[in-house]
Assembly symmetry: C2
Homo-oligomer: 155 residues x 2
Amino acid sequence: MAGKTMERPDGPEVKLDELLCFGIYAAGHAFNRVYKQLLDDLNVTYPQYLVMVLLWERDDQTVGELGSRLFLESNTLTPLLKRLEALGYIARRRDPSDERQVRISLTEAGAALRAKAATVPACIQAASGLTAAQARQLLSGVTALRAALDSYEPE
Amino acid sequence: MAGKTMERPDGPEVKLDELLCFGIYAAGHAFNRVYKQLLDDLNVTYPQYLVMVLLWERDDQTVGELGSRLFLESNTLTPLLKRLEALGYIARRRDPSDERQVRISLTEAGAALRAKAATVPACIQAASGLTAAQARQLLSGVTALRAALDSYEPE
DNA sequence: TGCGATTAGATCGTGTGCGATATAAATTGG
DNA sequence: CCAATTTATATCGCACACGATCTAATCGCA
């Protein structure tokens, strides 16, 4: 018998610091704050940087393609992309073969930004305090977690 | 020689799916989406839920105490707390012994909410697809990461 | 062929996060 | 004891996220 004896005013005793969700949430903010310092030079925010990373990987993608990689919808991406366009880093134009789609492509300034951003990954790695192997392992854990959460449907 | 031969248009070849920051970022959003379904019944958002968790841990804390636990400042917390107050879950009043501080306490409805939220942790655990041990291990990794990022200052 | 259904983006409203700044209360050093 | 500084919170502006809804273009199929 025994085990956890009555200490249950109402629900299970949830402790903030034992919640994985909070660890992820707080780590996300911490990353954002470090990135902000590094990205201020480039005049882009962290989500904008992620879009640029995708375009540096492969130029000329639709809003939907970018969204499926980032797990974001057009309601988030459209304004963000308009800001990148206003900054002169990308161009947005309707695909002539399917006018529903908007294709995003790098401008010259957007392509050139890649060089200026070249030092960012090393700074982030240093700030993370992790070896490449540790980072890979943690990434594999959070990626599996994300996949499980994404596929969760209550019944 | 060789090794990585020239494949360097400009910077290091950053791939979105190899970025730990992005894994964390996306996992955070995924958590948020799962929580949203569970918390809609309670009429609170995920950050509001975190505040409630802290108050269920210990009632009557100042804005600053809550902020230091959540790594948030008053510019984020003040409006959030006002919404919780408008919902009737908390009360905000100035500390008579130091009028600069605002003490946050649970109302009866706020204390009662704990029972309604009792099923949330188990749902989240199920959605995460992780055993308790796996979750603990991942949490320890992201917590160390957050600590490293928090202490990073590019001189 | 034509019309209803689907698809791709855009728009709107709400709620965070956070930098910058404001305000008011407490503390401190001369 | 009081002016200068520090501390606690609030306010403002901007940029995400995301649910809900809208519009326009394409598709499916009778």
